[in-house]
Subunit: 561 residues, 2 copies
């Protein structure tokens, strides 16, 4: 398309090309929109063979990797199986952006040949198909991050993370949908449209890594990569019943990936994995770190994978841990299913021999304000520049009906501030981080373990996946971005109208709390997955994964008891 | 002093109090200003006993620590010895700000008691007196960073680093002089005046950690702490013949220390040690990191001291390394003594069995421009706020005669920019960092070791300590702050008029190069120490210290051959 194309023309062109990239024989007759829960459809639609269903239903990435390494399953058949299921997912919930079957299968075939010829795997992710948020550049493919203006912007090289994943033997096979700018906790843009929640298509899949969330929810990918600046990995992970890790800044290389607000150094976004299994999260982190990303990304932290930290050397070797539950952030009281999930987790941990105390949240309002103001400092100019080429509208909402151009004359709050003013907010943020760290350290007085609290168990949102356009301020996740704490989302249960009846109104903390209370009714949210996040310290990825395994095992033990 | 005091009154008050803090019996008759080299004076002045001279002449911090731990020397006598020498230094070169003899000796006595009673040391720095740049808060003492407006600003708690040093058994005993704002490579402010270079008092001691440089030069402190945002540790270290380490951001805790331009997150300043011995540098880094600073400073990197990295596991175990020499940065050609130091280092390394190739500098002008523009983004507002209370002038030069208030109407280049504009500069900086990293990695093709260059050997400035007011743009150091590389300054030689004759003019690279050429004559610079810096990668402190030890041993071996 020429530079002077209108945004509508760019979008139409891209949509045509996207449709053409789907193999005709993978099209299925999808259920009508009135069917809300489509999670069973991939198994019912008839497109996948028994073996392909067995492969794609193998949610433990560790097992998939073993079978691939043992050549029990070839990469071509595993990639084909997940590709077919991903294309079914696309037809159900619109979760994909880039589809490149030929390229992916060629790579899978190469890997199969290599294994056959040499008897060894290329790397720790040998043969595994992986989905990537439409932000991680793959050479020769477009990256739009939801801007119509970026249609036709082909990457001239792989992002550093993609390079590393290829070297580890992974097979990137689809890219996934995002909201315009990446800065929304839902997934809608003017090019690819909206991604839906497979458990209930009237609900959002979350965002900004929402395409990943919906795709993996439908087992259309065993392992995906998202990014998280305010919850963008954890929110879709939780809304889709997945595991999702938000690492510290720089533990996973960002270099060469597209982003909005480039140069905003103070609260950087972090790339991280989403999966149906914790073994997927761990395999990803170990594999990526093993490639020494700091030799290719100047912002990547020189810190090897630490097996001692994974063995919880700093946390009593994982025996008799003390977890603290954040029941609410004193801003918005979570809905009944979230409280139930916290109770289930508490009970499971106690049953497993751990200690559970309450977490006292401090300054969550101020922390949320810090990220809001830092991002807002130059966001409008950034948006204007990004959208100028095509004149596309700037979305001011993720709701079904509104698509509003931001008008600077009527939205003075979006006008940028000076560098000096930005420094003042950033300085205040540094003080908040110190206060929170000291607060955490002081819990040593309450744990009885001789250590401060080992991890916080917190809601990732005050609700399960809400209806489209209703996912407000992501404060339950973004406070931990401001603090740069490692946080891992994990699934707990589903909204169950019989267990999760609406409660009588409480004394509302503020207007937002009242709005949130009114949002809930068990029927609207029914069947939505319910998850939580486990929060550890900065650069404690190994320990956070290990502690999430402990929580997960405890929950599974209770469920099967 | 009341809030409405004029800056002159504040300064006069502070000077009176500072003078009163010096024990009367430690005053000496100092040589006249016409005596330029005063380095021998502390030994000649008669204030220090034989034993006090033996103690203070023990420049190896490792040895000092052994003797302290063995109670061969008590902390009280070691602290007294260094204190007396520091007060002599003060009278010679004006290097101190806070003097608190009683407090320091009381602490030393406590430590002696502890060792006597328990038989064990408090920590790895037991009994060692340490000097701190006037930026690191000590409870109950003032911190001015050179602002008259900050006189009377008493710290209500210790900086995290001070806390840690106390826990390690150190005895903070003086604070040292700085330039107003900390943002100059010399040391002059309106409160404490100018610090001089002990080797030649017509020359600058460098800055901003210039008080440290001059004090340690005169062996008035065995180990000091400075800070470095553009060379502020390395420049005074080199100008005074010392070792000085600029660690990566966050390896040493900054929390609780005063600073200018707080909230400027993109190129943070880093605290680090200066010493007459590399054993001092190593002891400091090991001790500080052993206290897990990340549990008190949210910006401190969770990374233990790594003995494997110190053993150069990633650098061929220290055998047959490949160093690259940066002969000049293609902006300003260094003066003859600096070139001679590079040649000496090259020859010594080759003689020690290492390989030496040339380093090709790329984008040093752009890197320098990035830090200049990022700091300038809000610097003026920051200065205005800091100086508003007393109306003190803002220095626009470090020269002897000029003290000029910055006038915004005539200095439009100092007016701040928008947050969005700042992001663009920060983004360009990120790209430069990637380019430099790739450039370094590609040297694997030239080293013959199978590894990229192990370290760069670079000038820390294109000159030895120049006359006051003549230390221009510190580009040889600041490029490595932008890149966040670890860099350790080390001494090599002294300016020697017979060896370092002025050369005929070369083809000047630009006006700055010509100005620099014209600055040199061997007599002006005579006797000035000449040092260099060894530059390694981000978060490679252990390896950089170990490689500087290798260079240092090689130089000493050549000198004694």
């Amino acid at each position: 398309m020429s530079q002077s194309s209108s945004w509508q023309e760019l979008v139409a062109d891209k949509k045509r090309r996207q449709e053409a990239s789907v193999p005709r024989n993978w099209l299925v007759t999808v259920p009508p929109d009135t069917v809300l829960d489509v999670t069973a459809f991939p198994e019912q639609c008839g497109l996948l063979s028994e073996r392909e269903l067995e492969i794609t239903n193998t949610i433990d990435v560790g097992v998939l990797l073993q079978k691939l390494a043992a050549a029990e399953w070839s990469s071509v058949e595993v990639t084909t199986a997940f590709y077919k299921r991903a294309i079914v997912a696309q037809q159900l919930v619109n979760c994909l952006t880039e589809i490149f079957v030929e390229k992916a299968l060629a790579r899978a075939a190469e890997l199969d040949d290599y294994l056959k010829t040499t008897g060894s795997v290329v790397g720790p992710l040998h043969g595994l198909p992986m989905s990537l948020k439409d932000q991680i550049n793959l050479k020769g493919l477009e990256t739009t991050i939801g801007y119509a203006s970026w249609v036709g912007k082909y990457a001239d090289k792989d992002a550093v993370l993609a390079e590393i994943l290829y070297e580890c033997g992974a097979v990137p096979f689809v890219k996934t949908n995002i909201p315009q700018t990446l800065m929304w906790p839902e997934t809608y843009n003017l090019i690819f449209g909206r991604t839906l929640n497979p458990a209930n298509r009237l609900l959002t899949c979350g965002g900004s890594s929402g395409g990943e969330g919906a795709l993996i929810h439908l087992k259309g990918s065993p392992l995906g990569v998202g990014s998280d600046i305010g919850g963008s990995i954890r929110i879709p992970a939780i809304f889709n019943g997945l595991y999702g890790l938000r690492p510290s800044y720089g533990r996973v290389p960002y270099e060469g990936s597209a982003n909005s607000m480039c140069g905003q150094d103070s609260i950087p976004s972090a790339l991280g994995p989403l999966s149906n299994s914790l073994s997927g999260i761990k395999a990803f982190m170990q594999a990526v770190i093993s490639r020494e990303p700091w030799l290719r990304d100047p912002l990547a932290v020189r810190k090897k994978w630490d097996d001692e930290e994974y063995a919880l050397a700093g946390h009593g070797n994982g025996q008799a841990l003390c977890f603290a539950i954040l029941w609410d952030d004193r801003i918005v009281i979570p809905h009944p299913p979230i409280i139930r999930a916290l109770e289930m987790t508490r009970d499971a941990l106690i049953a497993a021999g751990h200690k559970v105390i309450d977490w006292k949240p401090i300054k969550h309002l101020e922390l949320g304000d810090a990220i809001f103001r830092i991002c807002k400092a130059g966001a409008l100019e950034d948006l204007m520049v990004a959208t100028a080429a095509s004149g596309e509208p700037i979305l001011s909402s993720m709701s079904l009906t509104e698509e509003v151009i931001v008008d600077t004359s009527t939205r003075p709050d979006l006008i940028g501030i000076s560098a000096y003013q930005l420094w003042q907010i950033q300085n205040a943020k540094a003080h908040l981080r110190k206060e929170y760290l000291d607060h955490w350290e002081r819990t040593v007085e309450a744990t009885g373990t001789g250590r401060p609290v080992d991890a916080i168990i917190s809601p990732g949102a005050p609700f399960a996946a809400p209806p489209h356009g209703k996912n407000g301020n992501p404060n339950y996740t973004q406070v931990f971005n401001v603090l740069n704490y490692v946080a891992c989302a994990f699934p707990v249960t589903k909204v169950d109208p019989t267990l999760d009846a609406k409660k009588p109104p409480h004394q509302f903390l503020n207007e937002a709390d009242e709005v949130n209370y009114n949002l809930y009714d068990p029927i609207t949210f029914q069947n939505a997955p319910v998850g939580l996040q486990l929060v550890g310290r900065t650069l404690e990825e190994e320990a956070v994964i290990a502690m999430t395994e402990i929580v997960d095992s405890a929950l599974k033990a209770t469920a099967s008891a």
